[in-house]
Symmetry: C2
Subunit: 109 residues, 2 copies
């Protein structure tokens, strides 16, 4: 396959990725509503760790674990922030202005 | 559906996301090899812009465009860096240590 062919493949993959990210955002939103009703905290470190572990366990190695986790940090960070906005949780003061999840060293290794 | 049910759904979605990210990494890797053979540059701003536009066009709105693009910045950044490593392109000196794509203002709006 030539470069154009691979790029078409990437564009197809990206459309599926965007659809799944949308489904994921909806699920996070539903959880946010249930948490707000139950008075539960938006941020649960143990659950985030489970999310990273699930992603890493699903990795077949085409992407280095470290690279996959960098992508997942961003997905989790963006969706957590959106959930907190939804729940009316005030934003923490800006640190580096990027608000990324600090990976657990165990997850990062 | 309760919180546990939504979390199971997220875990399923994440396994599919990881599979697609792996397929995407493979395609980027194949393009890297073809580019190296043809002496083409690893970084092509016009192509990256097309990738962002394709992702934005696929968005059905469950995720804000801004949030989707923050996720895509990371995906593109991580995979570009991996492609450059593969092609033997030396890393640029660290700026803020994060190496994120600077979004085109037009894409960011």
């Amino acid at each position: 396959m030539d470069i154009t062919g691979w790029r078409q493949k990437i564009d197809e993959i990206d459309r599926k990725l965007v659809e799944l990210l949308g489904e994921r955002a909806r699920a996070v939103h539903e959880i946010g509503k249930l948490k707000a009703l139950a008075g539960l905290p938006a941020y649960e470190p143990a659950r985030e760790k489970a999310v990273f572990n699930n992603a890493r366990n699903a990795n077949r190695g085409e992407l280095a674990d470290r690279d996959l986790l960098r992508i997942y940090e961003r997905i989790v960070d963006v969706m957590r922030q959106s959930e907190m906005d939804e729940m009316g949780v005030p934003k923490p003061p800006p640190s580096d202005g990027l608000g990324d999840t600090e990976l657990d060293p165990e997850v990062n290794d």
